[in-house]
Symmetry: C2
Subunit: 236 residues, 2 copies
Amino acid sequence: MLDNIYLSIYHDLVNQIEQGSLPPDSKLPSENELAVQYSTSRETVRKALHLLSQHGYIHKIKGKGSFVLHVNKFNFPVSGLVSFKELTKRMRKKATTKVISLKRGRPSPYIATQLNISRTEEVWEVIRVREIDGEKIILDKDYFRSFIPPLTVEICEDSIYEYLDQTLTVGISFAKKFITIESITEEDQAWLDHKEYPMIAVVRNYVHLEDNTLFQYSESRHRPDKFRFVDFARRA
Amino acid sequence: MLDNIYLSIYHDLVNQIEQGSLPPDSKLPSENELAVQYSTSRETVRKALHLLSQHGYIHKIKGKGSFVLHVNKFNFPVSGLVSFKELTKRMRKKATTKVISLKRGRPSPYIATQLNISRTEEVWEVIRVREIDGEKIILDKDYFRSFIPPLTVEICEDSIYEYLDQTLTVGISFAKKFITIESITEEDQAWLDHKEYPMIAVVRNYVHLEDNTLFQYSESRHRPDKFRFVDFARRA
DNA sequence: AAGTGGTCTAGACCACCTG
DNA sequence: AGGTGGTCTAGACCACTTG
């Protein structure tokens, strides 16, 4: 919506690919043609195509053209900051989120360390259980620094990210995720339908704002049989 | 080494960051200054900085400048096509690779499906065990389409990717990784020091060449306590 | 030879941050 | 006001593919 030409071209082409008017293996118009179509310069078109390429939508071949990839066979997001809500929407599953606890207060030493703040600075703590097809699959523990706008149970049941995107003045910039596999804890056992699996997949996520401050730490604890992580990586 | 200006600027800055002459939180010269330093245009400098940003080395703030991130705290690659050899070199561990079997022949139905080829087309099969600090931790099963240059045990003990990078005329373009957690198989038990862990982390990797053909399928099976996957993701 | 994407230039205007 | 990064333009030359 911004007056950003290359982003609007990008979104337009993404739509065409997802709607099917640009099917897999089909060839996009050449960069020069697109520049004329969108009344812009070729470099600007190239910026849009670069984004499509980075996100796994197209593939460019020198001398030949740009071609649509058939990636979304698994209907899954390319690795990135994708919220649970977006994710389940794509997978067309019945998914619900139950808020176990929501409070603001002093962090534990562990959380203070993870967020790299002093123990006297208050944090928001949100603990949620994600249910998919009637089974409690994911235990989400989120910790936010207290300068974010106040959270409510309704927001946490919906999408915290949507809320923050709309209310935060400074945007989200980048995140680091660490995936490990650990022994199940009593807390996991208490909240999840763990089916005797002794281990759990843990995704630790450190989210930074545009000014580089770390503002969120989260642990997403997944029952191993339902865990799935996808990574799309381009070379160089 | 190519006559590629922005790549050489990128590599130069990566070196400065990794050597420490550009420490974390320090500010890079402005884009205009870099353009003068490298005797090139600002857009070319920006291309290099964009790469640094994508790979988690720097962080740009409008109106202020570009700053070095302190990411490599965990000394781990940003998600991508990183080989075992590069990986262990960074972690400074004693790591060895043992080739269990190396052969060329008809694929199993499963492998033919994964590689999306007919069962009559031969494939290379490489099965390897990765040992770290004396423990057999990872079972790697690699399948290559037969048009690649011939493999030897020596190559497989070193780095298949380095070999392919040097010998393949058409380069590697992109890869999709799928991470799941599964029950341990008899094959895993036979080759790994599995320590009674009943589950195993499986990374399935589909690697494509620049002409978009899928040329490799691999399964990397990790003992859960040693498994670690890192993902760096930028927003938008 | 013509078309394609890959790289590069030398400008330009803007929004943002700092003095 | 001056510096910064973000976007955009209208050219240019190159390497690659195809007819």
